[in-house]
Symmetry: none
Subunit: 143 residues, 2 copies
């Protein structure tokens, strides 16, 4: 079993939910998938190994994985949503005070989603990004 599937099981248990055959199957296949995958494609992959599983269950499990912070949903363009593994040791961006030099680290998944959508519009696949916001922090502003 994938390390992340085990982590998912712990998350499930922690919420007082049940660890089912289907959830484990979906997680296992999801974590062995590289890049993005749609709910439907994941459903097809899992179906190959565990016939009879429902597309609905795949959707529900993907939602749980997302809540667990193990998956991330993207909506590129106008098409169907796709999911990818969420890596928690992630990039962060910076807020920089132009007066006192104070630096605050932050991350904003919603901004990153948009960055990817922009990139997609131009045919790009984002590998990395740099976002720096320059301005005045509260104390410099009120001082």
């Amino acid at each position: 079993m994938h390390r992340k599937t085990a982590e998912f099981s712990r998350f499930i248990a922690g919420k007082g939910l049940k660890s089912t055959r289907q959830r484990t199957a979906v997680a296992e296949v999801f974590f062995s998938t590289r890049g993005h995958i749609s709910a439907e494609d994941l459903y097809l992959k899992v179906s190959g190994l565990h016939p009879g599983i429902g597309l609905t269950t795949v959707y529900r499990t993907l939602r749980l994985l997302t809540e667990a912070g193990l998956a991330k949903e993207h909506r590129f363009g106008e098409s169907q949503g796709v999911f990818e593994k969420e890596d928690n040791a992630r990039h962060h961006d910076h807020l920089i005070c132009t007066r006192c030099g104070r630096i605050i680290e932050f991350k904003e998944p919603s901004i990153e989603k948009m960055q990817e959508a922009v990139a997609e519009k131009y045919g790009f696949v984002v590998e990395d990004h740099k976002l720096e916001l320059y301005g005045l922090c509260r104390s410099c502003r009120t001082a």
Copy 2:
């Protein structure tokens, strides 16, 4: 008539299409709207002035406006699409291909709005920003 509505009419004519009452009405209301507006809200606004217009026509006109480069559609989060005027003389950010070095300029008002929201969360007021997206462009990806 709005300067941009006139520009839209020229675009329409250039494509051998017809300048109709409805298209002009939608464009006129759209260009007098600040910020983002959904197809449905635009439909409601136009309906007030031109009863009987169809939501379908609003969608079709918004598509034409977008093709003309006069409108821009955004899909924030998972919700319905919204449109805004496309302004060609603004700050832009960069998309950089890490393989061929190709650089594309883009601007994304929605990202800037979110940047300000994030900054505000930390007590900052944004004066400037730098956003660089690094990745692979279409040709480098498919090559």
